[in-house]
Amino acid sequence: MSRIILPLIGLALLAIVPLIVTDYGLGLLIGAATYVTLASAWALFSGQTHYISLATVAFYGTGAYTVAVLNETLGYGAVLLCAALIGGTIALVVGLATLRLRGVYFVIFSFGLAELVRQLITWYEVNVTGTLGRYIFLDITTRQIYWQMLGLAAITIALTAWIHRSRLGMALRVIGDDETVAAHSGINLARVKLLAFVLSAVILTLAGAITSPRYVYVEPSIVFNPTISFLTVIMALLGGANRLWGPTLGAVPLFLIFEWLSSNFPDSYPILLGLLFIGVVFLVPNGLIASTERLLGKAKGARG
């Protein structure tokens, strides 16, 4: 039971924290919750299947931009629903085209997807509506944003935990290990991959939609910032993308480090990010959780 109760207590504690922290602290909390959500949602699909998606920001940005376009015409709930639908549809189309094929085609497509969406929106805004850049004026407090994001993070992790134990999770793991074996054991490869990818994309889109009021001013080049895709991948990898708590474990410390780096070393920030990323790929290829377990296992073996 402690597997369910402990996270619930943690969630309750996290939910009352904004009543006591400063505005700056609340900003940090929102950022951390956002990246926990993004990294967990990313790992939901890519962690199990090893299909590396580099398109996180394509969905995140789509979510934020949907809110920017619709926030004056529709109610907030309807806007979120629209964002989820749009994100899911994009994922469905991209997935249908690329997930039937070898993994590398999917990677390549996801690599350029954010740039494509950004250029298309820019082109559309410049040529059709004539307004590049929009404002978001919503009657939502910073605390409400935090609670929504915390809720989304909790849902993502709970969903991941459920998928890990379900037939879908089993199928995803087999696909990640060996696609040929998966096909021979009767798994519908394309459908399983597509389902997980669309689920993950809907969460990513919602995360973008929920944080968007924080931007106030939204422009394609702001919300489609490739650094977000990059951070998501490195966070999930550091903790361990195929573990339930891996992305969370990677996201929180790295988010704080990145905040500190970007305010103290704004010029060399991308360089440090790149070095950190390469370091993670080389030194902890399976994530911190797996590395720690191996170390502990070795220690035990040496003693016994």
Binding site: H50, I52, L54, A97, T98, L101, R102, G103, V104, Y105, V107, I108, F109, F111, G112, E115, L116, Q119, L120, T122, W123, V126, N127, P226, T227, F230, V233, I234, L237, D267, S268, Y269, P270, I271, L272, L273, G274, L275, L276, F277, I278, V280, V281, F282, P285
Partner: protein, 289 residues
């Protein structure tokens, strides 16, 4: 009108073909999916522009040096960064994922260095920028030179790969890296060479692009993307295929830019990519497997 599009498109396609050749070698022979490829071309482009602006070195003089430096850079990078990944993955399918992740990190690293060194502004130089009459169409001399470089380098590579013993070894590793050691081929050496030649081609393409195109430190992704699409269209590791697909993409882009809207060229690239994936994922010129 049509002939203008045709000639300008072919000239642009030449650069794209050259760009894609290097990537297809790196992926086909060294098995490294290099997402930082566009950044390699940008390094070369910035070096050429800087030496032109500050030292007065003409880009055509700088080009061979940049190419050699590109070879050295690729060689070193393979030895330091890629080789450990290859050794770690052994015969499992891990290398593809690892190389994608490692070069994704490299992309941001190089981009950061370029931003610090050269700033975020768009850069361009005016070099040999006078019109030359080609079949009644006026084409800038610098574009023609870039096209000639592509034809020379690409042609030489095709002949070398098809006709020489060295090319045979390269193709053997590209086809079955597992069996190549059985006939006494040092796969590690060949892969390193393939990666280094790929980098040299990226540098050559970057140097030719710098002569006539505006570029910025953050624009590498688009180059990588176009090169990747061409490689897939031509069939992975297929050098003549990449040349043909590069020319085709240049034509398509010029056509879209003149007939529809210049802002939609990347969308056109992606549309073609999707079509190829849906219709012939093994490449337009590849054999069915």
């Amino acid at each position: 009108m049509l002939s203008t599009t045709l000639i300008l498109g072919l000239v642009l396609g030449g650069t794209y073909a050259l760009l894609a050749l290097g990537l297809t070698l790196q992926y086909g022979i060294a098995r490294i999916m290099n997402l930082a490829y566009g950044e390699f071309t940008l390094i070369a482009a910035f070096l050429v522009v800087a030496s032109f602006q500050h030292l007065g070195v003409p880009p055509l003089v700088a080009l061979p040096f940049v190419t050699i430096a590109g070879y050295g850079f690729g060689w070193l990078l393979y030895q330091v960064m890629m080789r450990p990944l290859v050794a770690r993955s052994g015969s499992s399918g891990r290398l593809e994922v690892d190389s994608i992740l490692a070069t994704f990190g490299l992309l941001f690293l190089i981009q950061g260095v370029l931003l610090v060194g050269f700033g975020a502004n768009f850069t361009s130089i005016s070099y040999l920028d006078r019109g030359i009459d080609v079949l009644g169409v006026s084409v800038a001399l610098n574009r023609l030179i870039a096209f000639a470089i592509c034809v020379l380098a690409g042609g030489a590579l095709v002949v070398a790969l098809q006709k020489t013993r060295w090319g045979l070894i390269m193709r053997a590793v590209a086809l079955t890296p597992g069996s190549a050691p059985l006939v006494g081929i040092d796969v590690n050496r060949v892969a390193r060479q393939g990666f280094a030649i790929g980098s040299a081609l990226a540098a050559t393409a970057g140097a030719s692009i710098s002569m006539y195109q505006t570029f910025s430190a953050t624009g590498g992704v688009v180059f990588t993307m176009k090169a990747l699409v061409i490689v897939i269209m031509g069939g992975v590791g297929n050098v003549p295929g990449a040349l043909a697909a590069g020319l085709a993409l240049g034509l398509l882009e010029t056509f879209v830019a003149t007939a529809i809207d210049p802002g939609l060229t990347l969308a056109a690239t992606f549309a073609i990519f999707l079509l190829v994936l849906l219709w012939r994922p093994q490449g337009l010129f590849g054999a069915r497997t």
